[in-house]
Structure formats: structure tokens, C-alpha cells
Symmetry: C2
Subunit: 194 residues, 2 copies
């Protein structure tokens, strides 16, 4: 699906659907590089960034989800500043997609409940650690990093509704860039200087 | 060099040198995923992020370089807020390294001059476009994106001196995380909760 030459054939009108198709495919477990995007948020000392796992994509709501530990510093960052930017980069397709939007935190609602039910037991352990993520450890201990089987209270779904997409497609002779913006009812698109 | 099992063997004392060795190897053209890190900066509407090419690493100065077009929006961002965070992610090694530091912009000094001289002609063309990167294009035109052969005046070297490194190593049973901080003369290191 969508090799680099195929992406070069896309018209502006075709780009929004193509981007969402790529994101949905990644969330469904295919297309590995797009499944592990970088997410940037505003931290106390400047921009912060981390790799996340793209868990779900809902293109009608222009929304993407990842899971995190509610005690992680990024949660406080996004609670204070909900503007975030995701970046997907696929070196084989030579494609970078940057997606800006606002993050919403879901710990105790229907979305969080359903996502928790979808989690494997192995994944649930990620949220059961006794130690706050990022806090100093006295010593390395397997129990600490393994986590308890039920970390439901620390499980948080971060949903981002995207309103702007910036697509950069690399080629041998030149590059191509498009800016997509959600105007409230449709995606508009324009070519940009790469 | 440094497979995932080998990285699991590293002591805290060994981590700083290992990280710099990996970064230098990437800058020298090997280790592809670390050669294309994400760099986050503070934009006018929240955090911004993009993939860059790691051009050089100078471990004695704790410094990494990338090149950009001086007219790119990220340059204005970093001139206003010089706190930046780089993220290197290698899915094969299962290793993420986040590096925080301050960015300095070099357009017309000895560093910029030497880097420009090191650039291939193909690379130099990237800085010769008539259009400001990110600006709207009336129509797609090959000449616009190709660029003129001499873009010296738009060529900018961004150097970041890192003062904090956050290393996350993934494993099958658990994950491991270390925080490294430059104290002015040496790197100190401590284990963190993943």
C-alpha cells in the first residue's frame, strides 16, 4: 500500500484520505514505522518528546490514541498545555507526516474502560509499577520494573484530535510537501515549499 | 556494535560512553535509525517537531549538529527558545535516547563555513530554493523545489550541546531506564523507573 512512487502520484484531493489510511493501517498493527510515532509536548524546561505506540485511529473524529501511565510527567505536561504534535516517519516510503492537535486525557470514562478491556495482561502490567515512571531507583530490581498485574488506576488513554497535517515526501530529484487543514467540515489541502 | 543484549549488560558507568559512541557511529553514516532523529522545539502554537539528519557529533563538547535552511520556521523558533530535545529511536536495538540541550545557530562563522565546504553539491541545492520552506506554492513546479546550486546564504548549522540524556532500553520481561546528567565536568548517571 502506497509505495513512494505511488505517493508521488497523489493529487492534493487524494492526500487527506491517503494519510488517514496509512495511520489506520499502522494502528491495526501493520506498517511498523508509523506505529511508533514521536509525540512532542510542552514541558517545564522546554519541548519534550517520546516514542509512543499508536493504539487506535478514528478517522471520522480525526483522532489518534496512545496509552500511558497517568503518573508519567507527560500527563501533567499535556494537562497544562494540550497542544501536541505527533510525527510519523517512514524511511522506506520516504514519508514524514506531522500532525498537530489537542490532547484529551481519558482515565475514568467509557473510552478508557473499553481500551483497558482491550489490553493484554502483559500490557496491563506496564501500568502496575510501584514506582512513578521517571523517578529515581535506589537499585535495579526486577519486581519494580515488572509491575503488578492490575494497573487500572494508572492507565490513561491520550486522544489527540488533529486539525493540521504536514506531509513531506522525499524523492531523488526533489521533495514534495503538502499542508492539510481541517476547516470544521472537510480537509483542505495546499502544496507547500518543501 | 551494541546489540540489545549487550546494552542490557551495561553498568551505569558505561552508559555515557556507550551513548556517545552510538551517536558518533550514526553521524558517520552507520546505524541508520539514529542518523535520523526527531528534534522538538517550541513553536508559536505549541511544540513543533521534525526529522533531521544527524551530521556530526562531537562528544568532547557534548554536541550534535544538523543543517537547515535559515528561512525555515524552526530557526525562528530556536532563536526565540533555544531549549530543544532530540530523540533517537532504534527499533532493532529497542533503544530510545532523548537528549536535552540548548541550540545555537551558526550561519556565518567558521563552523558554518567548514560544514558548507563539506557539503556535496546535491546537498547544497537544498538551501537554494527561491521559496521560503513551508510557504504556500501557487503550483507544483520542479524548478522551485530543485533549488539553485549555491544556497550558501540560506545554509545554517544548528548545534545542540546536550546536558541531559534519558536512555530507555526495552526488553522482553521488563524495561530499563537511565538518566545521565552533565555536571560541568563529568556525566553522572542513575537508574530511573521505566
Amino acid at each position: 500500500m502506497y509505495t513512494n512512487p505511488q505517493l508521488w502520484e497523489l493529487t492534493l484531493d487524494q492526500w487527506p484520505a491517503a494519510v488517514w489510511e496509512l495511520l489506520e493501517s499502522a494502528a491495526n498493527g501493520f506498517d511498523e514505522p508509523f506505529r511508533t510515532p514521536a509525540v512532542a509536548s510542552t514541558g517545564p524546561d522546554g519541548p519534550d518528546i517520546r516514542t509512543v505506540i499508536l493504539r487506535e485511529v478514528h478517522s471520522p473524529q480525526r483522532r489518534a490514541l496512545f496509552y500511558t501511565d497517568a503518573r508519567s510527567p507527560k500527563v501533567e505536561q499535556m494537562a497544562s498545555h494540550n497542544a501536541v504534535t505527533w510525527m510519523f516517519y517512514d524511511p522506506a516510503r520516504r514519508l514524514q507526516v506531522r500532525a498537530r492537535g489537542t490532547a484529551s486525557l481519558h482515565g475514568d470514562d467509557l473510552l478508557a474502560k473499553r481500551c483497558w478491556e482491550d489490553c493484554s495482561e502483559a500490557n496491563r502490567r506496564n501500568y502496575g509499577g510501584l514506582q512513578v515512571p521517571g523517578s529515581a531507583l535506589e537499585e535495579l530490581s526486577k519486581e519494580v520494573s515488572m509491575g503488578a498485574p492490575d494497573g487500572r488506576e494508572n492507565f490513561l488513554v491520550v486522544a489527540t484530535a488533529f486539525s493540521r497535517l504536514d506531509v513531506l515526501l522525499l524523492g531523488d530529484q526533489s521533495n514534495r510537501r503538502a499542508g492539510l487543514a481541517w476547516d470544521g467540515s472537510i480537509w483542505t489541502a495546499g502544496w507547500l515549499s518543501p
